[in-house]
């Protein structure tokens, strides 16, 4: 069939449909039956669809809601604004759309709410495109295996639990163990290393003051220009907390679908599940385990499945996700943690004990894993990471035995000493991400034994001195190493010479 006839057919069909439309200006309307706790029950509107936006006419303007419970006689809709304005008897209309948010580069550097409205005091956001809040994840054929690294700048992660672009890696741990700090460092690293990855940070039910501090920090680090923050505070209605990660993902998907790379940080999904539980119970859906509704798994799986590495045909963009989950007393077998662990491609488990021992980031080597990142690790880091994770977990086990003070054989002693040095080396200050060459040279200096005579307490100082010398003396080699390729013999030699020379000043 030729192009012309298809156009004609399309026009004929459109005309035929227009003639059959009998509703004219008569809008379909419903009535609010009762309202409370952020939920309105509406009768009428037989053509309302799931997740469709409803407009309730109140005395102070139109309040929007979205339909979540479609029942025979009534609709349960969750309000997107204050419920105090909505009263029984008010007229409800269909907006004719499902929820969508503005997407595009115009959002970069801005702080918005889940409906895409600016909350940073800046001008209103005008974008060319809108993105659907709920969207089906890309299928298998549209994807490609994760193969490019997403450097976090945190050597413990990049070396032992590498993250690839398009991966979903969970950050899990108790309160105050540095979960958000890891995520923020990763965002900062994207700016420092000029990776071009766009950061989308979703704050779910977090204090406005915390968001303000984060924005300030990101501005100081020069990363805000490539960051979008979608913020909700505890004072916002549960519906907004529920929508926040989906809306933010829509904003991230814009970059993924335009051959760019984006990083999503969901901080945190525990609060998201709690907001959804609140909504579900108010919608009178039956409660299940821990009073969560039956579809709480689907809540997170449909969200995280949208993070993907796209195939070359679709532009090879990617959306990486770092969801955060807060555990209670280190219990990772609770309902929401197990769900999200099973959805993601690995987890970084942060331990309170390690945190208070001063091992920060407090990453547990035994419980953390990255299931797909290995394929994405850069050659430079891969060449030094072999056996590191195993060695570190064995050390932590042995170290607890060594506390009893019994006689230890030489092999165990040396393993413990190496472990202590490695632990010291992997400590890293916040807002201080490391580049590939820095990580490679640091790890090599301990695993190859160049720092064997350095006292564990002096390891960090020795590391800093070595890195400064390396950069001063072998800038060209280090720039080459930073590109991620496997280090050449020449580079390895220069690291060895510099590390051995530096170590002499820190013996003890």
């Amino acid at each position: 069939m030729s192009e012309l006839s298809i156009t004609e057919l399309s026009n004929d069909l459109r005309n035929a449909i227009a003639k059959l439309e009998t509703t004219g200006n008569l809008d379909e309307v419903g009535v609010v039956l009762r309202v409370g706790d952020g939920v309105a029950w509406v009768r009428g509107l037989r053509n309302a669809g799931y997740n469709e936006v409803l407009q309730i006419e109140t005395e102070e303007g139109i309040v929007e809601a979205f339909a979540l419970n479609l029942m025979e006689d009534e609709i349960g809709a969750v309000l997107l604004g204050e419920d105090s304005k909505v009263k029984a008897g008010q007229t409800v209309r269909l907006k004719g759309t499902v929820l969508s948010v503005p997407v595009g580069p115009e959002l970069l550097g801005r702080v918005v709410d889940p409906l895409g409205r600016a909350i940073d005091g800046g001008p209103a956001i005008k974008t060319k495109q809108q993105g659907l809040v709920e969207r089906e994840a890309i299928g298998v054929m549209g994807r490609k295996s994760v193969h490019e690294p997403l450097m976090t700048g945190i050597s413990a992660i990049d070396v032992m639990f590498p993250i690839g672009r398009g991966q979903r890696e969970l950050i899990i741990g108790d309160r105050q163990t540095g979960k958000t700090a890891l995520a923020i460092d990763t965002m900062i690293n994207q700016g420092k290393q000029n990776t071009g990855v766009v950061n989308v940070y979703v704050a779910i039910g977090q204090k406005r003051s915390k968001i303000a501090r984060l924005v300030e920090r990101l501005k100081q680090e020069g990363v805000m220009d490539q960051t979008i923050i979608v913020a909700t505070s505890p004072a916002d209605p549960a519906s907004l907390l529920y929508l926040a990660p989906y809306a933010a993902t829509a904003m991230g998907e814009y970059f993924r679908d335009n051959s760019q790379h984006a990083l999503m940080i969901y901080d945190d999904l525990t609060k998201h599940a709690v907001a959804y539980r609140q909504m579900s119970l108010l919608l009178r859906r039956p409660p299940g385990r821990e009073a969560y509704p039956g579809d709480v798994f689907y809540l997170h799986s449909r969200l995280l499945e949208r993070s993907a590495k796209l195939s070359d045909d679709l532009g090879a963009g990617s959306l990486t996700a770092l969801p955060i989950i807060e555990t209670q007393a280190g219990d990772i077998s609770a309902y929401i943690p197990t769900n999200v662990i099973s959805i993601t491609d690995g987890q970084i488990f942060l331990e309170t004990d390690l945190f208070y021992q001063g091992i920060r980031p407090a990453i547990s080597a035994g419980l953390s894993v990255s299931r797909v990142g290995g394929a994405a690790q850069s050659g430079a880091i891969k060449s030094v990471s072999g056996g590191l994770k195993l060695g570190l977990s064995q050390f932590r086990e042995l170290a607890s035995f060594a506390q009893f003070g019994s006689d230890l054989d030489e092999a165990t002693k040396s393993q413990i000493e190496r472990g202590q040095r490695l632990t010291e080396l992997l400590k890293q200050h916040q807002y201080n991400p490391m580049s590939v060459w820095q990580q490679t040279a640091s790890i090599l200096s301990v695993t190859k034994g160049y720092f064997d005579k350095v006292a564990p307490a002096k390891i960090k100082a020795a590391q800093a001195a070595m890195l400064t010398r390396l950069w001063a003396d072998h800038k060209k080699d280090m720039t080459e190493l930073d590109k991620g390729g496997k280090p050449t013999e020449e580079i390895l030699k220069s690291i060895e010479v510099t590390a051995t020379a530096t170590a002499k000043g820190f013996e003890g």
Binding site: T22, T23, G24, N25, L26, D27, E28, V29, G30, L33, R43, G44, R46, E57, E60, G61, I62, E72, D73, T91, R93, R117, A124
Partner: protein
């Protein structure tokens, strides 16, 4: 016996009314509502019945204006509704409500045409709040 939905009740009553058996069905419905203690739902059920009757071609509605409508305008509105809904009969009640300020609002079961000044003001108010 499982609780009948309002939709099921309204469909049955509307069918009976269209068939012309109004006395019997009124008694039946009254008895059912008393028996199942659902008399509170009466106004909702009546609305639903209106809706199904309008689907069957008998539209009843309300025209709200700020001042009295002329017979001519009322006829024009009736004609408009007939055209839009394909109804056989249209029965309109008039309501004078100064709060609409101007224009006209036509409410028929499940649908509404709101061309009043008060609605335009509400839309305007919302738009300015958003910006």
């Amino acid at each position: 016996m499982a609780k009948l939905s309002r939709r099921a009740i309204a469909t049955y009553v509307a069918e009976q009314l269209t068939a012309g058996d109004s006395k019997k069905v009124v008694l039946q419905l009254a008895a059912y509502l008393v028996d199942t203690r659902r008399t509170k739902e009466l106004s909702l059920i009546i609305r639903d019945i209106q809706f199904y009757l309008s689907e069957a071609g008998a539209v009843s509605g309300v025209v709200t204006t700020a001042s009295e409508l002329t017979a001519e305008t009322k006829k024009a509105v009736e004609k408009y509704i007939k055209e839009q809904t394909g109804a056989k009969t249209v029965a309109l009640d008039s309501l004078i409500d100064p709060s609409v300020i101007g224009g006209v609002k036509v409410s028929i079961p499940g649908r509404e045409l709101d061309a009043t000044v008060s609605r335009s003001l509400t839309v305007l108010k919302t738009r300015f709040k958003k910006a």
